[in-house]
């Protein structure tokens, strides 16, 4: 790893000052499980690291206003074990429990995972399926982005130099959603998925009022499967409908061939796992 200067702010203001001052030469670091690896491989060579662990403002989970607001420095495992989150947003806590191993989840943070923007990660599809918004703050002010607009390419986000993910907000659905997160893992349980699908359906009297579907590991960003959602919306839920919705998925995908499968295989598995996720969500 190449040397760098380490800054340990204790307030959000201080951290934003540092990120503003050093711009592209600085990276925030929370858990470090992703960034330390990138630095060891010299894929990222920041001159300044700004630690976020000591900043209280980034570290809470709050559901008192109905929505679930998660501080960016909350560890994966704290969120997955949070009682309010488990009760109100079980898809989210389930998804976090599927990330890597306990060792990683003890350290990796919610905001760090989003900023890392590896399309093989688990939470992004679920945040998109749950219509989450990502809070982004800089010295210039605060803005919010829908989760699906955060990701712009492999390891690329819409974050500008000086900006920091500070929180994620997941709305509380009007009634409990029918959900599933399905991860295709032909190798080991702690691996990244070959493809993974998150679905959230709003179902009333056997009819789909609304649907949100997103897919990981099938392109340079998580992919929102809008055509599949359109097929489902307003329709009575049947196995034929699920098949028709899933059939719209392969053209949306743009996977890479790797040791987890060829691009063609992943595209076809994205269809299969979308159908299965829909079946599981409504079983």
């Amino acid at each position: 790893m190449i040397p760098f200067a380490l800054h340990t702010p204790t307030t959000l203001d201080e951290a934003l000052d540092l990120l503003e001052k050093y711009g592209e030469d600085a990276r925030p670091i929370a858990g470090g499980t992703a960034l330390v690896l990138l630095m060891q491989q010299r894929l990222v060579r920041p001159e300044h690291l700004v630690t976020l662990g000591g900043i209280k403002e980034l570290n809470g989970i709050d559901a008192s206003n109905g929505a679930l607001r998660i501080g960016a420095a909350v560890h994966h495992r704290v969120l997955e074990n949070n009682e309010q989150a488990k009760q109100g947003w079980p898809l989210l806590t389930y998804t976090y429990r599927r990330v890597a191993t306990v060792r990683i989840r003890n350290v990796a943070t919610v905001g760090g995972g989003l900023a890392h923007a590896d399309p093989n990660q688990d939470p992004p599809a679920t945040y998109i399926a749950l219509n989450a918004r990502v809070g982004i703050t800089s010295k210039k002010g605060r803005r919010e982005l829908p989760a699906e607009e955060l990701f712009t390419g492999y390891y690329e986000t819409a974050l500008e130099p000086g900006e920091l993910i500070t929180d994620v907000t997941v709305p509380r659905p009007e009634r409990p959603l029918r959900t599933a997160y399905l991860k295709f893992l032909p190798r080991t349980a702690d691996d990244y998925a070959t493809v993974a699908v998150s679905v959230a359906l709003d179902v009333e009297d056997g009819r789909c009022r609304d649907a949100r579907i997103a897919i990981n590991s099938a392109g340079p960003t998580p992919i929102r499967a809008r055509p599949a959602e359109d097929v489902l919306r307003g329709q009575p839920l049947t196995p034929e409908l699920f098949r028709a919705a899933a059939a719209t998925v392969p053209p949306l995908t743009d996977p890479v061939s790797d040791h987890r499968g060829s691009a063609n295989y992943k595209s076809r598995m994205a269809e299969v796992f979308t159908r299965r996720a829909l079946e599981q969500a409504t079983a």
Partner: protein, 155 residues
């Protein structure tokens, strides 16, 4: 450049001046001299470098030493008390979870972290928890059995 770090390892205070990029596994092994924790894959996958930081198991190969400032760290050397092995260590010896020794310190630290949180884990709990600790000697049945028997007090 260096950074000044203070933490406790196995109950003993340590103060170190280390380069910012010093990894915790290297500080533990080379600066402090506790070589029980092993560097295996170096990318957070194999679990050989597992230690407890403030009671939570972590991959010390992915953690900057500076990020552990102020922490309470436990390594494999910290489990035995007054020369007597901890129950989980006895369990690994008695039931064959201990093979060549490379993965064992990490396996035992992970198992200890599980038992701290869940003193009576089911086999499914053990498998889910331990899946991030790789063994290349003998497979995993003896390790699972070692943890089950330790939890049952049969050491």
């Amino acid at each position: 450049m260096t950074v000044h770090v203070r933490f406790r390892v196995n109950g003993q205070e340590h103060e170190l001046d280390v380069p910012e990029q010093r990894l915790l596994i290297d500080a533990i092994r080379y600066d402090i001299g506790l070589t029980g924790s092993k560097l295996g894959c170096g990318v957070g996958v194999c679990g050989a470098c597992t230690v407890l930081v403030d009671g939570q198991m972590v991959s010390s190969c992915l953690m900057l030493t500076a990020m552990a400032d102020g922490a309470d760290i436990t390594t494999i050397e910290g489990l035995a008390q007054d020369g007597e092995l901890a129950p989980i260590q006895k369990g690994f010896l008695k039931y064959g979870g201990f093979q060549c020794g490379i993965c064992t310190p990490g396996q035992i630290m992970a198992a200890q972290a599980l038992l701290n949180e869940n003193p009576h884990p089911t086999e499914a709990d053990i498998k889910e928890w331990m899946m991030g600790n790789l063994c290349r000697c003998t497979g995993y049945y003896k390790i699972i059995e070692s943890i089950e028997r330790t939890a049952a007090g049969e050491v």
